[in-house]
């Protein structure tokens, strides 16, 4: 059972690089005049970049990356579809045994915290 905490600073820098690269690609796309589209694209980029930064070594990130490969919608949870239980909140949670769920949850939380910090930093940097 892998219960190693992720190296937070390496997740942060890997996420930051991927996220900025994704945003750069998106900014060159058409259709970004629409505010809602920009928001959804940004949010999707954040989710994908975090999973990509973690890579295939965790079950939760593999679940996110699988969904992208299958081109299934990534959005449609959280604000639009509030879930009450842990299995619904952690990517891939439904298929895991209880111990793995707890372990994946801890890793997932640490990564979400890193993601929030990076995005907050970017916000401060981009709005003087």
């Amino acid at each position: 059972m892998n219960i190693q905490p992720p190296n937070s600073s390496s997740i942060k820098s890997r996420f930051a690089v991927k996220f900025v690269q994704a945003m750069k690609r998106l900014s060159k796309r058409r259709g970004m005049g629409d505010r809602y589209k920009r928001y959804r694209a940004t949010r999707a980029a954040a989710r994908v970049s975090l999973a990509a930064a973690v890579g295939p070594e965790r079950a939760w990130s593999r679940a996110v990356l699988r969904r992208i490969k299958k081109r299934r919608g990534l959005i449609g949870r959280t604000t639009t579809n509030p879930r009450r239980n842990l299995r619904g909140l952690v990517p891939g949670g439904k298929g895991m045994d209880y111990c793995s769920l707890l372990s994946e949850t801890a890793h997932y939380i640490t990564c979400l915290q890193a993601q929030v910090q990076v995005m907050q930093d970017m916000l401060h940097l981009s709005s003087p």
Binding site: T42, V116, D121
Partner: protein, 92 residues
């Protein structure tokens, strides 16, 4: 919890112990700001899980909110230089 039911049937090497679960739950407790300070009193597993769900939902909400606010970067004509500056600062 399935581990309790299976305990008598499984061999010691493969079973998931209650201790392991308790350990994982207490590690989770340390991650959640709301309940992490209670070092001497260990919160109940159901309380930890409840707070964990609440915390994850909050984090998701924060990411959504930050995504809204960062989405303005996608229409900035200065995108390249702003983003280059961001990368440099974050990686230093």
């Amino acid at each position: 919890m399935s581990s309790r039911r299976q305990r008598s049937r499984q061999s010691g090497a493969s079973r998931i112990t209650d201790d392991q679960i308790a350990d994982l739950v207490s590690k989770l407790q340390q991650l959640i700001p709301e309940i992490r300070s209670r070092r001497s009193q260990k919160a109940s597993a159901s309380k930890v899980l409840q707070e964990t769900c609440k915390y994850i939902r909050n984090l998701h909400q924060e990411v959504d909110d930050l995504s809204h606010r960062l989405s303005g970067l996608l229409q900035s004509t200065d995108a390249d230089s702003a983003q280059a500056a961001i990368i440099r600062s974050l990686l230093m």
